[in-house]
C-alpha cells in the first residue's frame, strides 16, 4: 500500500504523479510518438498543445492504456504513475482506468438515465455498499461537476436529452464518480459553444485541487486559461514542456514560437 505521496529521498521534493520515459507509439508502420520524456505534476492542470496529428491525443491515450483497444497500436517505453509501471504485465488496465479517468472530445453519455450514467462506474467497480451510498456518490459527483442544480429533478431522464455542455459535464461527473486520481481530457470543449466552454474551464480549475488533470486542447487561449504547465508536441516529438506562462511568453524552441504566434497550426 502506498498512500503517501512518493518522495524522492535525495531531493526531498514531490515526485511527479506521472512520469514517462522514452515513450514510442506505433500505429502499424507509422511512428506516431517518438522518444517522449515527460513528467506530469500532481494536482496541476497540464495542457498538451500542438498542431493536428502531432500525437498529443495519442500520448494522452497511452496514460490510461486506451490505446490497448486499437489492434494495430504498439506502445514502447516506460510510463509510471506513482512510480508504478502501468505497462507492467501484472497491471490490469481495468484497475488502471479506474485510477486514471478520461473525458472525450465529443460528449458521449450512455443511452441511459442521468443517474445510471453516473452510477455506471461505481457499480462496475463495486464502490458502493448500498443504494444510499450510490445516491450519495451520484449527488456528489454531479455537484463537483457543477451539474447537480440543473439536473437534480430529472435524474431518471436520459442523459442524451441534455444540452451539449451539460452532456460534457455529465461525462466529467461520470469520470469523477469512480474517484480517479488523474483525469485525462481529450479536447473536451471542441464540440461546445463558448458559454458551455467557459463553464467547463471553470470546472477544470476547481477540480485541480483534488485531481491531476491532463488536457489536450487545440486552443492556445484555453491552454493559457486553464493550465499551469504546458507541453508542446510536434510531429510526434515533445518539443518543450514548462510553466504555461513561460511557454507562452518565452518559448525556447523556434517551433513553439512559430506555433503560438500562429505561423502554422
Amino acid at each position: 500500500m502506498n498512500e503517501m505521496p512518493v518522495v524522492d529521498a535525495e531531493a526531498g521534493t514531490l515526485l511527479p504523479k506521472i512520469s514517462a520515459k522514452k515513450v514510442q507509439v506505433f500505429y502499424g508502420e507509422t511512428h506516431a510518438i517518438k522518444d517522449v520524456d515527460l513528467n506530469i505534476a500532481d494536482r496541476t492542470v497540464t495542457a498538451f498543445i500542438g498542431p493536428s496529428g502531432c500525437g498529443k491525443s495519442t500520448f494522452l491515450r497511452c496514460l490510461n492504456r486506451m490505446n490497448d483497444t486499437i489492434d494495430i497500436c504498439r506502445v514502447e517505453g516506460d510510463i509510471r504513475i506513482d512510480g508504478e509501471d502501468i505497462y507492467d504485465p501484472k497491471v490490469d488496465p481495468v484497475q488502471l482506468r479506474a485510477k486514471v479517468g478520461m473525458v472525450f472530445q465529443k460528449p458521449n453519455p450512455f443511452p441511459k438515465s442521468i443517474y445510471d450514467n453516473i452510477a455506471y462506474g461505481p457499480r462496475i467497480h463495486g464502490l458502493s455498499r448500498s443504494k444510499a451510498d450510490l445516491d450519495e456518490i451520484v449527488a456528489n459527483s454531479l455537484q463537483k461537476a457543477g451539474l447537480y442544480e440543473e439536473v437534480k429533478d430529472r435524474l431518471d431522464e436520459p442523459g442524451t436529452g441534455l444540452s451539449g455542455g451539460q452532456q460534457q459535464r455529465l461525462c466529467i461527473a461520470r469520470a469523477i464518480a469512480v474517484s480517479p486520481e488523474v483525469i485525462l481530457m481529450d479536447e473536451p470543449c471542441s464540440a461546445l459553444d463558448p458559454i458551455a466552454t467557459a463553464k467547463i474551464e471553470e470546472l477544470i480549475d476547481e477540480l485541480r485541487e483534488n485531481y491531476t488533470i491532463v488536457i489536450v486542447t487545440h486552443s492556445m487561449q484555453q491552454a493559457a486559461r486553464v493550465s499551469q504547465r504546458t507541453a508542446f508536441f510536434h510531429l510526434g516529438n515533445l518539443v518543450e514542456e514548462g510553466e504555461t506562462k513561460e511557454i507562452f511568453t518565452n518559448p525556447t524552441d523556434r517551433r513553439t514560437q512559430d506555433y503560438i504566434t500562429g505561423r502554422f497550426g
Partner: protein, 489 residues
C-alpha cells in the same frame, strides 16, 4: 395469326419504325446530322417506340379481354342444369379441354377444320377421336359441351383475327405518325427520354403490382372459401381434419400453434448463438478470424432451405429419436418418429443463425465507437461494456432483427414440410409431430383436390393469415430498425 408470329411481326414493324424515323430525320436535315436537334439514333428509337408501344399495349389489353368475353359468351351456353350438377367452372374447363383437343386433332390431321366445327356427339365418339391425338378426357363429351367447345373455337378464331388486325393497324398508325413527325426540328431525344422515364416508372411500379397481385389473389379465393366455410370455425376451430369427401374441419389454431412453437424453438436456438457470435466477431475477434468466420457462417444462409429440410428429415430427426425416442440414449421415449416440432425447430434455428448474427453485427457496429470509449475509459471491462452499454443501446435494433428472424421462421416452408410432420395437433410436447400453416398450404394445393372445394381454397385463407402475420412483423421490425439507424446517423 398465332401469338408468337404476331409478336414477331410487331417487332419487325418496330424495327421498320427505327429505320423510318432515322431516315426521315436525316433526309429532312439533308444528310447532315449536325442540323438535327437530337442525335440521329434518337429519331430511330423514337420511331421504334412509337410503332411498338401503342400496339404492344393494345395486345396486352386485348389478351385478357378476349378471354373474358369468350368465357362469358360460352358459359352462357351452358344450361343451369349441368352447371348445377358440378360447378360451372368445371364444365368450362371441360369445354376448354375439348376445344383444345379439337385444335390438336385438326393440327394432327385427324379432323378437317369443317369436321371439327360440325361433328356431333350423336354421330361421332368424340372422346375416342380425341384420344387418338392424345387428349384424354375424363368422361364422355355431352352434346352441350361439344357445342360450347365449337362455339369457343369459333369465337377464338374470330377474336384472333380481330386481334391481329387491331395490333397491326396500331403499329402502322405509329409508323404514319413517325413519318409525319420525324423532322430535323423535332426534339426526338426529349420524346425518347420521356418514354424511357415512363418505362422506368413502370418497372419500379412492378413492386406495387406484385403486392396488389398477392393481396388480390389471396382475397378473392379467401372470400370464396369463407362463402363455403364459416370464418369463425376457421379462425377458432381447434381441429384440423380435412377430408376430401366433405365434412372437413378446418380450424387454423392447431396449425398456428405448431407454427409458433417451431418458430419459438428456432429463435431459442438462433438468437443466443447468433447474437453471441455477432458480439464475438464484432467486439473480440481479430481481423483474421473475422475474415474467415464471418463468410463461413454466412454460407449457412446461402444454403437452400430444401437442404435443411432434407437434413431435418434424414439426419436430425433420426438423431433426435436415438436420443429422446423409445430405447434412445436417455431412455425417455418422448419421441415417436423423426419428424417433430423439435426437429424442425432445431434445423430452422441453424438456418437462422447467420440471419440473426449478420443483422446483429450491423446493428452492434452502428453503435458509435465513442460509446465504447466512454465505458472503457471508466475502467469497464469489455464484456461489461457490451452488456451494459452496447447491448442496451442496440436493443431496439436487435429486437427488430429478432422480429425479422421470427417472420422468416413463420414463413419457412421446406423445413417444416419435411421435418415437422403431417398431423395437426395441439400439444405441448415438442417431440411430437405437428404441422404448420405453410406445410398445409403446400399439401392442400398439391393434392388432387378440386380447386373449387373448401379443402383446396382453405390454403388461400391460410396464406392470407400467413401474409398478414409476416407483413405485420416485417413492418414493425423495419420501422424499429429504421428508427434505430436514424438515431445514430
Amino acid at each position: 395469326m398465332s401469338l408468337p408470329i404476331l409478336v414477331f411481326v410487331l417487332l419487325a414493324l418496330s424495327v421498320a419504325g427505327y429505320v423510318l424515323g432515322r431516315g426521315r430525320a436525316m433526309a429532312s436535315a439533308g444528310g447532315d446530322a449536325r442540323k438535327l436537334h437530337s442525335l440521329p439514333n434518337y429519331y430511330g428509337w423514337f420511331g421504334f417506340l412509337v410503332a411498338l408501344l401503342p400496339a404492344a399495349l393494345m395486345l396486352l389489353l386485348w389478351l385478357p379481354a378476349q378471354s373474358v368475353v369468350i368465357d362469358t359468351q360460352v358459359s352462357a351456353m351452358i344450361s343451369d342444369r349441368s352447371a348445377a350438377e358440378s360447378s360451372r367452372g368445371l364444365v368450362m374447363s371441360d369445354v376448354e379441354r375439348v376445344a383444345e383437343g379439337l385444335d390438336l386433332a385438326v393440327d394432327a390431321g385427324v379432323l378437317t377444320e369443317e369436321q371439327a366445327a360440325s361433328i356431333r356427339t350423336e354421330f361421332t365418339d368424340v372422346r375416342e377421336r380425341l384420344g387418338e391425338v392424345g387428349v384424354a378426357l375424363g368422361s364422355d363429351v355431352t352434346s352441350e359441351t361439344l357445342q360450347a367447345a365449337q362455339r369457343y373455337r369459333a369465337l377464338s378464331s374470330t377474336g384472333d383475327l380481330l386481334r391481329t388486325l387491331a395490333v397491326v393497324a396500331a403499329a402502322l398508325a405509329g409508323l404514319a405518325f413517325v413519318y409525319r413527325r420525324a423532322a430535323s426540328t423535332f426534339r426526338a431525344r426529349n420524346a425518347v427520354e420521356a418514354v424511357v422515364r415512363w418505362i422506368l416508372i413502370l418497372a419500379a411500379s412492378i413492386a406495387i403490382l406484385t403486392t396488389v397481385g398477392i393481396i388480390l389473389s389471396l382475397i378473392f379465393n379467401t372470400v370464396e372459401f369463407f362463402s363455403l366455410y364459416p370464418a369463425w370455425d376457421f379462425f377458432f376451430g381447434l381441429t384440423w381434419s380435412p377430408s376430401f369427401g366433405g365434412g372437413s374441419e378446418l380450424g387454423i389454431l392447431p396449425l398456428l400453434w405448431a407454427t409458433l412453437y417451431i418458430s419459438f424453438i428456432a429463435l431459442a436456438v438462433s438468437v443466443p448463438i447468433g447474437l453471441f457470435a455477432a458480439i464475438y466477431l464484432s467486439e473480440y475477434a481479430g481481423p483474421a478470424v473475422r475474415a474467415v468466420a464471418k463468410p463461413l457462417l454466412e454460407v449457412l444462409a446461402g444454403i437452400p432451405t430444401i437442404v435443411y429440410g432434407l437434413f431435418a428429415l434424414l439426419t436430425v430427426g433420426p438423431l433426435l429419436v436415438d436420443i429422446f425416442g423409445d430405447g434412445g440414449v436417455l431412455g425417455v421415449g418422448w419421441m415417436g418418429g423423426g419428424t417433430a416440432v423439435m426437429t424442425a425447430g432445431l434445423v430452422m434455428g441453424i438456418m437462422l443463425i447467420p440471419f440473426v448474427s449478420s443483422l446483429s453485427d450491423d446493428i452492434i457496429n452502428a453503435v458509435p465507437q465513442a460509446m465504447r470509449d466512454g465505458s472503457l475509459g471508466l475502467g469497464a471491462t469489455h464484456s461489461e461494456t457490451v452488456k451494459q452499454v452496447i447491448l442496451p443501446a442496440a436493443l431496439p435494433g436487435i429486437v427488430g432483427a429478432i422480429l425479422l428472424a421470427g417472420s422468416r421462421a413463420i414463413g419457412e416452408t421446406m423445413i417444416v414440410v419435411l421435418g415437422a410432420g403431417a398431423a395437426a395437433r395441439l400439444s405441448l410436447n415438442p417431440f411430437e409431430a405437428m404441422t404448420t400453416v405453410t406445410a398445409k398450404i403446400v399439401s392442400q394445393l398439391t393434392g388432387d383436390a378440386d380447386f373449387a372445394s373448401p379443402e383446396a381454397l382453405v390454403a388461400f385463407a391460410l396464406g392470407m393469415t400467413l401474409f398478414v402475420i409476416t407483413l405485420g412483423l416485417n413492418v414493425i421490425a423495419l420501422y424499429i430498425v429504421r428508427k434505430y439507424r436514424e438515431q445514430y446517423e
